[in-house]
């Protein structure tokens, strides 16, 4: 057991830190971190930030050097996430391109596809979204109904997607479609297309979330067009593409955990500064006990993540245990943000300009309800852990 970083890793951290200090938008480190509210303006700024990352060689560190990456080790990825959380870096607008589409294409794409797409992903010239969920297919992706039908030398796509992140700014969509029907084996007959978002057959509508944000879209496809060259992998073998893709999603949960740790530290600070009739909350024994309880759970999840990471490094790929990380971090996010709002007492329900402490807490509390749903609900995670980690019998219906 060894919790230290190697010299090489520390050098990597120092290099990134120095680069960030020079290249983050002006005033960012000092707290001037407002992003434009206007969507076009917002996406322009974030594309520019991604291009800055690209030019510094920091856009996709895990990619092979030949495709513009750094061949970064898992530990370096971890350090990368730690540093980005530390400086509260602007969001990566092409997250899906960098972390999902790119690695998948590098793995199983054709040479033409690599040539055509990879660099544009890195520079932010082409932003990607993913078209997975549908109104009737949430936890159960095999229920998808969006159909792609061959029509001469092109494919016509019809159907609806929901929860398409970045759909409103995306140029391309990594789209799951049904190309044939197998009532008994529903995961067969799925094909992944890389679809142009900018075409007459594609329409997007923002989804307004309960926290007032619109990070996701509905995407309606009416005779949207794609070609054979847009297919990832083989026709009808989309399920394999999905599995390959999931294996590349190696460290995203790490970023979540570092964010959780940061939020916990902020909660402690909140308790030290927030006063009830002049007395800081931290003097309240019940608050102290709850902080100690959260401390154990937050530290425990983080350490458990490191343990799973060690296994991942040794085995070369993540195991089903990572479902534990996802389950734990999202449920803790929810509990912690609720606690941070609750301890503020009656003024804790005031928002934005009227909030007494940092207004982020109220927003985090609302946003936390999406976390235990998106990316696989807690119920699905528990099934995965039960069946794949513990070997319990499979649920009905699958």
């Amino acid at each position: 057991m060894d919790f230290s970083f190697t010299k090489k890793e520390e050098k990597f951290r120092a290099e990134l830190r120095t680069w960030l200090e020079t290249n983050l938008p002006e005033g960012w480190l000092e707290g001037k971190r407002d992003l434009p509210e206007d969507l076009d303006e917002y996406s322009r700024v974030l594309r520019a930030w991604q291009n800055t990352l690209y030019e510094g060689g920091w856009a996709a560190i895990a990619w092979p050097k030949e495709y513009g990456g750094r061949d970064a080790s898992l530990m370096e990825e971890i350090i990368y996430h730690q540093e980005m959380v530390r400086v509260k870096a602007p969001p990566l607008i092409n997250y899906i391109g960098i972390h999902m589409v790119g690695p998948t294409l590098i793995d199983i794409g054709t040479d033409e596809q690599k040539e055509r797409y990879l660099k544009n992903i890195l520079t932010g010239e082409e932003i990607w979204c993913q078209g997975y969920s549908e109104p009737g297919a949430g936890s159960d992706l095999t229920g998808l109904k969006t159909r792609a039908v061959k029509d001469g030398d092109r494919w016509l796509i019809n159907g609806q997607k929901v929860w398409t992140s970045f759909g409103h700014v995306a140029d391309k969509c990594f789209l799951l479609t049904r190309t044939s029907t197998h009532p008994e084996k529903k995961h067969r007959g799925i094909t992944v297309f890389m679809m142009d978002m900018d075409q007459p057959g594609v329409e997007t509508l923002p989804i307004v979330q309960m926290d007032g944000q619109s990070e996701f879209n509905e995407v309606y496809m009416t005779d949207a067009v794609a070609t054979d060259a847009d297919i990832v992998g083989q026709v009808d073998s989309g399920w394999h593409v999905l599995i390959a893709l999931m294996l590349h999603e190696r460290t995203g949960i790490g970023a979540e955990l570092f964010t959780l740790e940061k939020q916990f530290n902020d909660t402690v600070e909140l308790a030290q500064q927030y006063k009830v009739n002049g007395r800081p909350l931290i003097e309240n024994p019940a608050v102290r006990q709850k902080l100690a309880n959260f401390y154990a759970r937050v530290r425990g999840s983080l350490l458990n993540y490191y343990k799973n990471l060690t296994t991942t490094i040794k085995n070369g790929q993540p195991g089903a245990e990572t479902s534990i990380d996802k389950l734990v971090v999202t449920e803790l996010h929810q509990a912690l943000s609720a606690f941070a709002v609750e301890i503020q007492g009656h003024q804790g329900v005031l928002l934005d300009k009227d909030a007494v402490a940092d207004p982020k807490w109220q927003h985090l509390f609302l946003a936390s309800f999406g976390q235990t749903i998106g990316g696989g609900t807690s119920e699905v995670q528990r099934n995965t852990i039960g069946e794949r980690v513990l070997g319990l019998p499979k649920d009905m219906g699958r």
């Binding site: 936890s139 307004v208 309960m210 009656h346 329900v349 309800f369 749903i373 609900t377």
Partner: protein, 377 residues
């Protein structure tokens, strides 16, 4: 023993529900998010026409002289649709306090106008010191040049823009640690400095009020000077009993939503309500609802008696309700999955209201201590 509402009470519930359904249920609350109180005002007008606003007002002041329990169906139905506004503050806080402590003149001035739905009263108690206790009240009423003047700031005053008057808790005695407060009734005038605050639960409006040398007359003081906190506790018993009913109504709608959705939503080739993870989660919600309902019905019965557990029962009903309301409304979102996280579906309205009431007028530990102390333990 008969632990159920009477047929009349249940019939009354039917009227209220039908009326609120006509207004589109939560639609009224949603319009308040858009700063549009037109339908809310119509609802209140109809409630007054149905007699709701006079239920617990004595006949001599044009009321029906009934009891807290007779208000339960109204509160439960309002809670089901999350109807905001000042019904609870008026009928379950101002009225009991006026009945018990006001002078005959004050009663004449307010009770008939409340019964007829002409006057709605808001409650200005909380302050920026985050403490709902005598020590947390810094708004001060002082005698100066032969008259009273009021100075200080109130926060989180509900629906101030709709109020015709405010029940205000102020400090009149700096020495008294246990109380030293007094209750005022201040009519809405342009002289009042009211500023809307940004609320987490956008369908429940709150405002800040700043008093700067506001002149107050002796006639505006309700009950005994320096005994305001003590008198308020009596009013809060009725308010918290009512609140628990309101929340029970809201919880019932939440459980209903979750149950019906779980019956029709299919995943993995099954209605999701067939999966025990979902089924048992809804069952836990239902159990919490039923316990909350039983506690709340009893609280509204006992508050009009002199049973030894009067306070303990009311505060238990309040804390159990506020605590479980958050829990069930959060589970409701989880059961709905992605769509439960959208603004379009009602789920979030309930979780926001739950959070609002949980943090309103004292925390769970605050009320738990009251339960234990009231039982003499």
């Amino acid at each position: 023993m008969d632990f159920s509402l009477t047929e009349e009470q249940e019939m009354f519930r039917g009227h209220i529900r039908k009326m609120l359904d006509k207004f589109g249920g939560t639609q009224v609350a949603r319009e308040m998010i858009d700063q549009n109180p037109q339908n809310l005002k119509k609802v209140y007008k109809t409630l007054a026409e149905l007699g709701c606003s006079g239920i617990n007002i004595p006949e001599e002041y044009d009321g029906m002289d009934l009891e807290a329990l007779d208000l339960v169906p109204t509160f439960e139905e309002m809670g089901r649709s999350l109807v905001p506004g000042l019904f609870m503050e008026t009928s379950a806080l101002a009225v009991p306090i006026l009945k018990k402590y006001a002078t005959e003149e004050q009663k004449q001035q307010y009770l008939p106008a409340i019964a007829s739905g002409e006057k709605w009263i808001s409650f200005a108690a909380l302050e920026p010191f985050n403490d709902f206790s005598p020590a947390g009240i810094h708004c001060t009423l002082q005698q100066k040049d032969g008259q009273y003047v009021l100075n200080g700031t109130k926060t989180l005053v509900p629906e101030a823009e709709l109020a015709d008057a405010f029940l205000v808790l102020v400090r009149t005695n700096q020495e008294d640690q246990e109380d030293g407060l007094s209750l005022l009734l201040i009519d809405k005038t342009d002289a009042l400095n009211i500023e809307k605050q940004s609320s987490f639960d956008e369908s429940k409006h709150v405002a800040k009020m700043e008093f700067e040398n506001l002149v107050i007359t002796q006639e505006q003081i309700i009950g005994e000077v320096d005994k305001g906190w003590t008198q308020l506790q009596e009013g809060l018993l009725y308010f918290n009993a009512a609140l628990s009913s309101y929340i029970v109504g809201a919880m019932e709608q939440v459980v209903h939503m979750a149950t019906e959705y779980a019956k029709i939503r299919e995943q993995f080739g099954q209605a999701i309500g067939r999966f025990q993870a979902i089924k048992h989660s809804i069952v836990n919600m239902k159990v919490n609802l039923e316990i909350a309902r039983s506690l709340s019905h009893y609280a509204n019965w006992v508050v009009d008696t002199e049973e030894f557990d009067r306070e303990a029962a009311v505060y238990s009903a309040r804390t159990y309700a506020t605590e479980k309301f958050i829990e069930v409304s959060a589970h409701n979102i989880q059961i709905h999955g992605g769509i439960g996280f959208t603004e379009e579906i009602d789920c979030h309205l309930y979780v926001k209201r739950a959070r609002y009431y949980d943090q309103y007028l004292g925390s769970t530990p605050f009320y738990q201590e009251k339960v234990v102390a009231s039982l003499g333990w």
